[in-house]
């Protein structure tokens, strides 16, 4: 099968993302990259855990965090993880329109999450919780902001994927690309589960 030849319902491979050598390499390479990303986030989590009580003259975590907003953001990101997995299921069935639709919903949810985060950070800054206020605030913004940066990057990645391949149909060339994006998006959600638990919920307990 040619790389840019559209799949048909009867010739689509069972694992279109791993049907070529390039696809296989990308698949393994991306998982190794995610292993590295885990360590990268671990350094930020470790720093935050060490510094989270050093709030100086700034507000404490307990005074600051609004759990309902963060809870809503968590639900949004969790749902977007589900819609991206539905997109991959549609991809495996060669249902390109369904896949694009699910990815589009994923994108909207990702943007909604970013909007909530910007709103949240804005509130915090108004309460005196600026980046340079204390060791707590610096480590907080670095960790949570770095995750937000990942969401932003994911949204831009998804937009370019969808736009570039909009009328191309599914083929051996772009199937691995969609699959890797979904892996990345799940990973970003995994990191958020820990931010929700370690930063926000534990922040309320003290």
């Amino acid at each position: 099968m040619n790389l840019s030849e559209r799949f048909t319902d009867t010739n689509i491979p069972e694992h279109p993302e791993k049907a070529t050598l390039e696809g296989k390499n990308k698949f393994v390479g991306f998982w190794l990259f995610l292993g590295g990303e885990t360590v990268l986030f671990a350094t930020l989590f470790g720093t935050y855990l060490g510094l989270r009580h050093m709030h100086g003259t700034g507000p404490t975590a307990k005074e600051l965090f609004q759990l309902p907003t963060v809870f809503l953001a968590t639900m949004i990101l969790l749902t977007s993880s589900l819609t991206s997995v539905y997109a991959i299921l549609a991809m495996k069935q060669n249902k390109i329109r369904a896949m694009q639709g699910w990815f589009f919903i994923t994108l909207l949810l990702g943007l909604a999450f970013l909007g909530l985060e910007i709103y949240e950070f804005n509130e915090y800054v108004h309460e005196g919780h600026t980046f340079t206020k204390s060791a707590f605030s610096s480590s907080f913004y670095t960790l949570v902001g770095f995750h937000g940066g990942h969401v932003l990057f994911g949204c831009l990645w998804l937009i370019s994927l969808l736009v570039r391949n909009w009328s191309r149909g599914l083929n051996l060339y772009n199937a691995p690309k969609y699959y890797l994006f979904a892996l990345y998006w799940h990973f970003v959600d995994v990191v958020w589960v820990f931010i929700f638990t370690v930063v926000y919920l534990m922040g309320k307990v003290g």
Binding site: A42, K204, V205
Partner: protein
């Protein structure tokens, strides 16, 4: 066209795949509901103030770890065959991450 014909999948295999995907979709939906539930439980444990703090922290950490397994094994398909290297890669990452978190946090705490 000759090459095209070569890669054609049989009707029975297509039907089998369809059933597998249906099964997979069910699994994904179940794990989604589970994760929502775990998130709500963790949120409630802290928000209600009814659970003693030290226990609550351990409890929500365990819930987070359970959620990670749902994500990795079901949504990211680590449970499917052909995932030996990905498991090795991410497990190494998680191991290093655990050492990193403990190491960095401990260095700050003791100074």
């Amino acid at each position: 066209m000759a090459e095209h014909h070569h890669t054609e999948v049989s009707k029975t295999e297509l039907l089998q795949r369809k059933l597998e995907i249906k099964q997979e979709r069910k699994q994904h939906t179940i794990s989604f509901v589970m994760m929502i539930l775990l998130t709500i439980i963790a949120f409630y444990a802290i928000w209600s103030d009814k659970v003693p703090n030290t226990f609550a922290v351990l409890f929500i950490l365990v819930l987070a770890i359970v959620q990670v397994f749902f994500q990795l094994y079901i949504w990211m398909h680590l449970s499917h065959k052909g995932h030996e290297f990905p498991i090795l890669g991410i497990a190494t990452g998680i191991l290093c991450a655990a050492v990193t978190v403990a190491g960095i946090a401990a260095m700050i705490w003791t100074t």
